[in-house]
Symmetry: C2
Subunit: 198 residues, 2 copies
DNA sequence: TATATAATTAGATATATATCTAAACTATTG
DNA sequence: CAATAGTTTAGATATATATCTAATTATATA
């Protein structure tokens, strides 16, 4: 299920009146007039909420003579709940897409911004290019190792004198995280990817 | 969990931006600035959504220097989902409360509105009393039996001549339901209870 | 065919909320 | 202490929505 559906599901359930309607329906079919009566609401208000619940497929209806009977659609109520959890906890299911022929950009940045001795001539001003340069450097750090701020500074200095700015950018774009002066590489899934920049 | 909490839970999840924040957090801690950047939103907007998620206890925060890191609170995300389903499907858990000393009212209505031969002198105008009279009659029907409209009319006639009105009231207040001219008693949990009338 | 009943639609109103910019606050750093 | 960076607060705006009354539609009944 995709974002919109899941949001619609929660929107349908995010109103106390609609929740009470569902509770009333849990004992069996109830018609519109009876709902209005039991909730102390006008019938148009019930129609309004019924429409919302119907759009989210949380209730079913049948008509007999003039009267419309509502009942729960339990499968969909449950399904929405499950889809929602799956969506949130779907760690990295859908993010490992492209890695496409933008290699060319990467190569040109590495060629143009880094000298033969490996020093960074200047910090790229263009966002995409800056991310490429940062990622290039950060990939030379050891995953899992905890660095002190001083060690990070020493690591950066051979690339560029303005180690403070670069260290900050490492944090800013999620290449690293920091806790009590101690720095550690983030898993690559967390990095802000230049491939994803519009 | 009570209504308000459950509604608050779904409200927190009923916005696409907040859903995307949770998705980003599912890979690990992310700080506010990075969220704003990845979602293309201003930082105040991120603060706004973070507050909503925090109020619903769906995320946790830690501060390091100037930076606030967010992460999921998975237990509460799951708990809300479960509580929500339990609430909706809690058939009749909490509705079997009172049955209190209002017996007096019931007795007085039965005494005053029904003659010794069992006929209903008149349909009570007062809502509460009308419900008492209707329930008294309807309790003489057999649960599970399917009646034709004609049979219902014949059943009512000994009580009162205006069987059409009374038959309609049976449906209206959920004592019975109707499908294709066939009438059947509803389970008592569905009846509109005079005990619950304000 | 006229009346009655249940539901829906239309339109109005009031409240809520998602977003932004600008200003203020809180640490951190030089 | 001055400047910087990340966050939060305040205030404005635009959109969404829960509710109501009045009018309309749909179906049933006399």
């Amino acid at each position: 299920m995709q974002l919109d559906k899941i949001v619609a599901y929660h929107k349908a359930l995010s109103d106390p009146t609609r929740m009470r309607i569902l509770l009333l329906l849990s004992r069996g079919e109830v018609h519109g007039h009876a709902l209005a009566e039991k909730l102390n609401l006008s019938q148009p208000t019930v129609t309004h909420h019924a429409a919302k619940l119907r759009e989210a497929a949380l209730i079913l209806e049948r008509r007999d003579k003039n009267t419309v009977y509502f009942k729960l659609n339990p499968e969909f109520i449950q399904a929405g709940s499950e889809a929602s959890l799956k969506f949130i906890f779907a760690k990295g299911v859908e993010e490992m897409e492209e890695e496409s022929p933008e290699h060319s950009l990467k190569e040109s940045v590495l060629r143009n911004f880094f000298a033969k001795d490996g020093r960074l001539r200047q910090i790229p001003a263009q966002y995409k290019k800056k991310l490429i340069a940062l990622q290039y450097m950060v990939e030379k750090l050891e995953p899992g190792v905890v660095y002190s701020e001083k060690e990070i500074n020493e690591f950066i200095k051979p690339f560029h004198d303005d180690y403070a700015t670069i260290r900050r950018e490492f944090i800013m774009h999620q290449f690293m995280y920091r806790e009590n002066e101690r720095y550690e590489l983030n898993p690559p899934e967390l990095w802000t990817r230049w491939e994803n920049v519009k």
